[in-house]
């Protein structure tokens, strides 16, 4: 499912889907296509956003739902001038972001690089737990926007 709107060159768009690796890949690619459409001169940003969306959605798929049957994943992309805002929602038990980021990944470990990559590629990352759902909020300033 997809809903959204565009106004004065900015947009917000929300996706929700039943998570599977195939769909995680598909929606991360769509996000990259959107970034490339709005920031056509910044191909690197498109790649970095695709990585971050893959990692964020993978984390929800693998961890955040805990023992509950996996329900829908939803995420939202917003453009405000030269800033891309990504929100990824989950209804799992949640985690403490600072603790997770403090665990510097050992170079020989075979998992646990997702948040590190998001933190590296984005300008800000926040995670808030809520009664009904938790929210991962990541923001990236991107140059190379088309003029509007």
């Amino acid at each position: 499912m997809l809903s959204g709107q565009e106004k004065d060159g900015d947009f917000e768009i929300e996706f929700s889907f039943y998570p599977s690796p195939v769909d995680i890949r598909k929606f991360a690619k769509i996000a990259r296509n959107i970034v490339e459409l709005y920031w056509p001169e910044n191909e690197k940003a498109g790649f970095e956003v695709e990585v971050c969306i893959m990692e964020a959605l993978t984390n929800v798929f693998l961890h955040a739902q805990n023992d509950k049957p996996v329900s829908e994943i939803s995420f939202r992309l917003e453009k405000q001038l030269n800033k891309l805002i990504v929100r990824v929602f989950d209804d799992g038990r949640g985690f403490v972001l600072a603790e997770q980021l403090a665990k510097k990944p050992d170079v020989f470990q075979s998992s646990g690089r997702g948040l590190f990559l998001m933190d590296s590629f984005m300008d800000s990352i926040k995670y808030t737990t809520g009664k009904n759902r938790n929210e991962l909020l990541i923001e990236k300033l991107i140059l190379g926007s088309k003029s509007v």
Binding site: F47, T58, L117
Partner: protein
């Protein structure tokens, strides 16, 4: 996972023909590599020239396979890194543990 055996000169040379190594095919790649290592083909050169995208699942599969290869007294070398994939190796410092040629 589309993997082509392209040679056995001083080790097993594999060309990864998929454009991506990510959550969808990382486990499959890892299992293919582990099968080779178990069969004694533990000196592997992976040609990633066609790979344009890798995520942490893909990197994890390669690291796991490298550990197993080393345990069997072998190694995994990597060639043909494209720009963005190379940046993923350097940001995670995997370029320090893989022999990248």
């Amino acid at each position: 996972m589309n993997i082509q055996l392209v040679g056995k000169n001083g080790g097993t040379v594999l060309l990864i023909k998929d454009k991506r190594i990510d959550i969808q095919n990382a486990v499959e790649l890892r299992e293919e590599l582990l099968k080779l290592i178990r069969d004694g083909q533990n000196k592997i050169l992976l040609d990633l020239q066609k790979v344009r995208f890798i995520d942490s699942s893909g990197l994890g599969a390669l690291v796991y396979s490298l550990r197993e290869a080393r345990r069997a007294k072998g190694t995994i070398r990597i060639s043909g890194l494209t720009e963005h994939v190379a940046s993923m190796f350097s940001i995670t410092r995997l370029n320090k543990i893989f022999d990248i040629i």
